[in-house]
């Protein structure tokens, strides 16, 4: 695919039509994979000898945590494209990812806490990963709040994108600071949320869930970003024609 074709797909009406078509190609496999993963993780995989059935929460926790971090990277990537190419499409994608990423982070924290309670008796633990997730949530919330606080949409896009880029540069630094701090303070206990070597039966549902989450995520983003683009471009010809067609 040469550069000209990429530019063509980057234009709002083309992206709009493409994403509406692509949506089902992502959402349906995503839901299927999640169902398969749930069956595998909740029923087929054997109970862990240490934790019993409680460990099954990782089938929700790990994909959420993993996707929440990669979603931030995608958001920052879209922000960069938006700034460099002044692309409304890229800004719409970034804006759509943010609430979804924040929810995933929240889900990861809650499932992490649910995992902790039966295992060690306390819901919250000052573990490197839970704390990192919390910081990530703050980064998402900062992005969302900045978007909401600036009235003019173009300014809000640009300002929030700078924040996203600053966040993504700092993210590794923050992550490793917290890990470093954590290793100093938790010297006496083994890292609580580290999973010991995981057997095949338990592993495949996890991978399926990770892919399932990913597909579903991109499917939903397709639709949300598409409606965002429609909103932004409502004055343009293609948008008016599309809305007329709906009526």
């Amino acid at each position: 695919m040469n550069l000209k074709q990429i530019y063509k797909y980057g234009s709002p009406p083309n992206y709009f039509k493409l994403s509406l078509k692509a949506e089902n190609w992502f959402v349906i496999p995503g839901i299927l994979l999640i169902i398969v993963g749930c069956l595998g993780g909740l029923f087929i995989a054997p109970p862990d000898y240490q934790m019993g059935d409680a460990f099954r929460i990782i089938y929700f926790h790990v994909p959420s945590a993993y996707l929440s971090m990669s979603a931030y990277a995608y958001m920052a990537g879209a922000a960069l494209v938006g700034i460099v190419w002044r692309s409304n499409v890229a800004f719409s994608v970034a804006k759509s990812i943010a609430p979804f990423g924040a929810s995933l982070t929240f889900l990861a924290i809650v499932t992490g806490m649910l995992w902790g309670k039966p295992m060690w008796g306390t819901a919250w633990v000052w573990d490197a990963r839970l704390t990192s997730q919390f910081i990530l949530l703050l980064l998402y919330l900062g992005y969302i709040l900045l978007h909401l606080s600036i009235r003019e949409q173009r300014k809000a896009d640009l300002a929030a994108s700078i924040l996203a880029l600053t966040g993504v540069i700092n993210l590794p630094i923050i992550h490793y600071s917290v890990i470093w701090w954590n290793t100093l303070h938790q010297a006496s206990t083994i890292s609580k949320l580290s999973s010991p070597s995981i057997t095949g039966d338990m592993l495949w549902p996890l991978l399926v869930m990770i892919f399932g989450y990913g597909f579903f995520f991109w499917g939903v983003i397709c639709r949300i970003a598409a409606s965002e683009i429609l909103k932004r471009e409502k004055r343009s010809k293609w948008a008016k024609e599309y809305i007329k067609e709906l009526e």
């Binding site: 910081i135 990530l136 703050l138 980064l139 919330l141 900062g142 709040l145 900045l146 606080s149 600036i150 009235r151 003019e152 173009r154 300014k155 640009l158 300002a159 700078i162 924040l163 880029l165 600053t166 966040g167 540069i169 700092n170 630094i173 923050i174 600071s177 917290v178 470093w180 701090w181 100093l184």
Partner: protein
């Protein structure tokens, strides 16, 4: 005298005239550090353990209070726009602004931290190490503050938003800064945290003004 020297001297002169704004930050810094032993206990071991976090937290809160003074007054009196319309690079001018802001707002904190350190039963060369930590940590904090202030220039009540932006980005500085102070007092090797703080200082002074200048252009639009 070239334009950068001019801007630097001008901003220093202005911040001296606005001394009451500076004082707010210094007072916040001193009082937060002072309050801790009053309410949490004042035996020496305990104070040695909390001085690191207390000093870094006080720096963060002090910077939060005075953050709006970096760009808001200049936006209101029109000199920020004139800065953007200068023939010189806005990033360079913003660098000078941040540097002079750091000198007027954070160097007093370095001095005050020495008093706080001795009040926290820190002795001898360790006090110098505490001052050095504050010196290095505030350089990065001031850049993060400038970026947050520039991003929220157009927002009417930016307080909560600035805190939300500031906190995650400054966490590494807070962690390594308090570790640096803790290690100084325990007599351990402080080079690790100090290299980190110095590295962050270089990173933030090289990227910060560029990002802040971009944010100013956006907010002024």
């Amino acid at each position: 005298m070239n334009i950068y020297q001019q801007l630097f001297l001008r901003d220093l002169k202005v911040s001296i005239k606005r001394w009451s704004d500076l004082l707010t930050g210094i007072i916040m810094f001193a009082l937060v550090a002072f309050i801790f032993p009053l309410i949490a206990g004042s035996d020496q071991d305990f104070m040695h353990r909390i001085i690191g976090p207390v000093i870094l937290l006080s720096s963060l809160l002090a910077s939060l209070i005075s953050m709006q003074n970096i760009f808001k007054p200049d936006l209101n009196n029109g000199s920020l726009e004139q800065l953007v319309l200068s023939t010189h690079s806005l990033s360079g001018l913003v660098f000078i602004k941040i540097l002079s802001y750091w000198i007027s707002s954070s160097l007093p904190l370095v001095v005050v931290s020495s008093l706080i350190a001795s009040a926290y039963y820190v002795t001898g060369i360790d006090i110098a190490k505490v001052m050095l930590t504050v010196l290095l940590a505030t350089t990065t904090l001031v850049n993060i503050n400038s970026l947050a202030a520039a991003l929220t220039l157009g927002v009417r009540y930016p307080g909560a938003l600035m805190t939300l932006i500031l906190f995650p980005l400054s966490l590494p500085i807070l962690i390594f800064g308090s570790k640096a102070i803790e290690y100084s007092i325990l007599g351990m090797d402080i080079s690790g945290p100090f290299y980190f703080l110095t590295g962050m200082m270089l990173l933030s002074f090289s990227l910060g003004p560029i990002a802040t200048a971009f944010a100013i252009r956006i907010s002024i639009d």
